[in-house]
């Protein structure tokens, strides 16, 4: 009768027998040993497969999975050039420290792996933030101590950089200057990695950032995309029941960690992503010689996050400095012209609108200071094409650090001395 579900129309008729005592549907058949074949064989396969996968995952490094292995993300502190003093070495080392000391002019250096990674490091180079710290300490140190801290992350997205900066403001740190290295990549990547989620969860940072977002309702992409992500981050105190359940779940998870497959599931998941992307590259013959275009939605969202970051910095009287990161001067270029043009357009607008100090370092680093040498380790058949499109050599970092210091020295000198709000 029903036009909605004609072939199930007998169901209503069946209702007439509802409630009548019915015999229980329970056919107990005696199982034989054949029945155990599938569960036992499955179990053996799960154990074998799990062992094999987790064994491989131990040495898997998601940061280096897609790179050529010639990039070093660690600061090298045995630099012997330019006669760095012990103190300068010590200050250079401190750029990776988390907090600013009190009573100094604080410079937060944001960016992606270009800021952190050194191509073909020989173990005796400094990164550009370290150079900035050393040069500041030589020049303006005596009158006003300057401390540089790195808030950069490999493959950083703009929202992650916003999270990093806002967590510092929320902790009461006074930042005199923010230096942002901008490449189209920062406008491409949009997710939060677990470390940043952890940062947001801590100390009510997510709630603080959510408040900041809700005060900037005109940035609609931020409001619609970032707000749900922040609200999903539990920063509201849990009820005692839920706290108990969560802690019990964590304890059970810790127990389950004894099974290697469970312990390395994070790494295995990233291995899966890398494998899928590699398969895709192989299938569609995608060569790593040009970055994929930044999707329009990602670009629009990230541009608004950048604007929010500038507003947050402004509201804390922080001088905001943006430089367009160096580009590899080779062939057709790594980033598409369209991405570079619209990044430039957004940057020009923001610099004008907020009266920022903006610098163009696109052509600053000569070809020789990029990864343009043969990658003999992994690709012996490659010609003399670049093997790395983003990361600078140690000398490249030195050039960048020097130029940056030259350009922003005045802002650093004029920036107010930081004093922890918490301490005060």
């Amino acid at each position: 009768v029903s036009p909605v579900v004609s072939d199930r129309s007998d169901r209503l008729d069946r209702r007439s027998r509802l409630g009548r005592p019915q015999p229980a549907v329970c056919v107990l058949r005696k199982h034989n040993s054949r029945d155990l074949y599938t569960p036992v064989f499955t179990l053996v396969l799960v154990i074998g497969l799990g062992h094999w996968l987790s064994h491989g995952a131990v040495s898997f490094n998601p940061l280096k999975a897609a790179q050529n292995g010639r990039i070093s993300f660690q600061s090298r502190l045995s630099y012997s050039g330019e006669n760095l003093t012990e103190r300068e070495m010590s200050l250079a080392k401190d750029v990776d420290e988390s907090n600013f000391p009190q009573g100094s002019t604080n410079v937060l250096y944001l960016g992606d792996s270009q800021v952190l990674g050194i191509f073909d490091s020989h173990g005796s180079e400094l990164t550009s933030p370290q150079w900035l710290q050393v040069l500041c300490s030589r020049d303006v140190q005596e009158s006003r101590p300057v401390r540089v801290r790195v808030g950069a992350l490999p493959g950083a997205g703009m929202a992650e950089l916003l999270a990093e900066a806002s967590a510092r403001y929320h902790a009461g740190e006074r930042i005199g200057v923010i230096v942002l290295s901008l490449l189209p990549d920062e406008l491409h990547n949009i997710g939060f990695r677990p470390d940043v989620v952890k940062l947001l969860r801590a100390n009510g940072n997510a709630r603080y950032l959510h408040k900041v977002v809700s005060q900037n309702e005109d940035l609609r992409d931020v409001e619609s995309t970032l707000s749900p992500a922040l609200l999903a981050t539990p920063s509201v105190p849990l009820s005692s029941t839920k706290r108990w359940v969560t802690s019990t779940e964590d304890k059970v998870d810790d127990l389950a960690d004894h099974w290697p497959l469970f312990r390395y599931r994070d790494k295995l998941r990233s291995e899966f992503s890398v494998a899928v992307i590699r398969l895709r590259n192989w299938m569609f013959r995608i060569e790593r010689q040009q970055a994929p275009p930044v999707p329009q939605n990602s670009f629009a969202y990230s541009s608004e996050v950048l604007e929010l970051l500038i507003r947050v910095a402004r509201s804390h009287h922080t001088d905001f400095i943006i430089y367009e990161g160096p580009l590899l001067p080779w062939g057709m270029g790594y980033y598409s012209d369209e991405d570079l043009t619209r990044t430039k357009r957004v940057l020009d607008r923001l610099c004008k609108q907020y009266n920022l100090h903006c610098f163009d370092y696109r052509n600053l680093i000569p070809l020789a200071e990029w990864g343009d040498r043969l990658d003999r380790g992994s690709r012996s058949d490659v010609s003399a094409e670049p093997v790395d499109f983003v990361h600078l050599s140690g000398e490249g970092h030195r050039l960048l650090g020097q130029r940056l210091f030259h350009d922003i020295r005045t802002q650093i000198v004029e920036a107010e001395v930081g004093q922890s709000d918490v301490a005060r």
């Binding site: 029903s2 409630g19 019915q22 056919v27 599938t38 897609a66 295995l268 990602s298």
Partner: protein, 462 residues
């Protein structure tokens, strides 16, 4: 308590062992009720209080209705349940960001499901069906822990005979239960999550819809519509298989909720395969009652639209759900009109079937855009892009998203075809001795890997 975490399965095992050790049906029912309340309490003790009070209240109303089956009393019973649903489900939703102003409001998990179960009980009593549950049986019916969170919406008539003689689960029950749990987890934890988050974190359906940028090309909208349809199916059908499987471990059979909906070749058939427990509820207690009021074809169509609008509102108090319900109702009406126009035509050629399938799939998918959008403005913008030929020229989403949607959708249909072929090929079926354990092993390993709380960051520039 997360249904995909190890704690849940420890809980299942302990309850299973405890119930198995119990003798006597009443004791087993008490054991299951205790486990149900304990499980539900993990989502909040206040929510549990609400569930218990609702159970007691509806049991009392049922007893009254049995003694005095009047339409007035039924109306009062239905009204009270609707008020309960509105107060605890819709008010907190409407309060939205003003929750601080309404601190006493809680949102008991699964209230839409167990309120509808209560209503079906009351309607069935009014209809004169022989339902005479004890208080224990009724409380167990409403709070039965595998189904209390998100259905399927069961009927007392299906569950009562099983609660009256709780079977001792046999080997077949265990095997079927584990099979369903693995399938459900694979769909929910692996496939749904992959569609929602994308291969790289933040490049899935969620970002596609949540980015409020006014840029959606026609192809973006289509791929988001199909992608979200797949995500919703894997998530909800996976959940349903999971809970049906858990119930089966205890020897209790819960009705199916999904039956390969996307292979349906017409909208009516789709709604017999999608969220079956709700669509049958709406049919039995809303549509048929409305349809009996007047004998005219036009009224029948109005009833269809009203029923589907209620179907939509059940999901939440937003205009999107109302419009989605009306849209789904109108599609059913159009299908009925086409059926009437073709009455007498006997041919059912393959191309007609293919046309029916593709049209159904397209219109159902477009409906998901209304369902998932934040507001009608967004839905309107996205749907408008489908009609705008020049918008197809630009793509706004990450390329990997299109690829993922294509692969997952193609995979869904290919496995449907493969299943149909295998069932006809006894030779292929012989390979099951190898294929089945391999399938389960890969599924279990994938579930474990994807049970990570969050996809780790992958530094990959492509």
């Amino acid at each position: 308590m997360s249904l995909s975490g190890p704690l849940f399965y420890i809980f299942v095992t302990l309850v299973w062992l405890a119930v198995r050790a119990m003798h006597g049906n009443t004791l087993k029912a008490i054991g299951l009720l205790g486990a149900s309340y304990l499980f539900y309490a993990t989502f909040g003790v206040k929510s549990l209080c609400c569930l218990v009070l609702c159970s007691l209240g509806n049991y009392a109303l049922g007893a009254l209705l049995r003694r005095n089956p009047s339409a007035t009393l039924l109306t009062v019973c239905a009204f009270l349940n609707c008020v309960l649903l509105a107060a605890f489900k819709f008010l907190p939703e409407r309060a939205g960001s003003h929750v601080g102003a309404l601190p006493v409001l809680i949102h008991p998990v699964g209230i839409s499901f167990w309120t509808f179960q209560s209503l079906s009980y009351l309607f069935d009593i009014y209809r004169g069906e022989e339902l005479d549950p004890s208080l224990l049986e009724f409380c167990l019916y409403l709070s039965f822990w595998p189904t209390v969170l998100s259905g399927p919406i069961t009927r007392l008539g299906d569950m009562l005979p099983q609660f009256r003689k709780i079977p001792r689960a046999g080997f077949d029950d265990l095997a079927a239960g584990v099979r369903l749990v693995v399938l459900g987890l694979f769909m929910k934890v692996v496939l749904a999550q992959l569609m929602a988050a994308g291969i790289r974190q933040g490049e899935g359906v969620d970002f596609g819809f949540d980015a409020a940028s006014p840029i959606w090309g026609g192809l973006d909208t289509w791929s988001l519509a199909v992608g979200y349809g797949m995500q919703l199916y894997f998530d909800f059908a996976g959940y349903s298989y999971l809970v049906i499987g858990v119930a089966r471990l205890f020897g209790i059979k819960v009705p199916d909720n999904f039956d390969r909906p996307y292979v349906a070749s017409d909208p009516s058939s789709f709604w017999t395969k999608w969220h079956m427990s709700l669509s049958f509820w709406i049919r039995d207690y809303v549509f048929l009652n409305l349809a009996r009021l007047r004998q005219s074809t036009a009224w029948l169509y109005v009833c269809l639209v009203i029923s589907m609008a209620i179907f939509g509102i059940w999901h939440g108090a937003t205009w999107n759900y109302v419009v989605w319900g009306i849209y789904s109702g109108l599609i059913l009406v159009i299908h009925r009109l086409i059926q009437r126009a073709r009455r007498g035509e006997r041919t059912n050629s393959w191309y007609r079937q293919a046309l029916g399938w593709s049209t159904t799939f397209a219109f159902i998918s477009l409906g998901w855009v209304i369902f998932r959008s934040h507001d009608m403005r967004q839905a309107g913008r996205m749907l408008f892009s489908v009609l705008s030929p020049h918008s197809y020229l630009h793509l706004s989403l990450p390329y990997d998203y299109y690829l993922l949607t294509f692969v997952v959708t193609a995979g869904y249909f290919l496995q449907a075809i493969f299943r149909a072929m295998v069932s006809r090929q006894p030779r292929v079926a012989r390979l099951n001795a190898i294929l089945v354990p391999m399938y389960y092993a890969i599924a279990i390993v994938s579930i474990t890997v994807f049970s990570a709380k969050q996809s780790p960051f992958v530094y990959f520039r492509f």
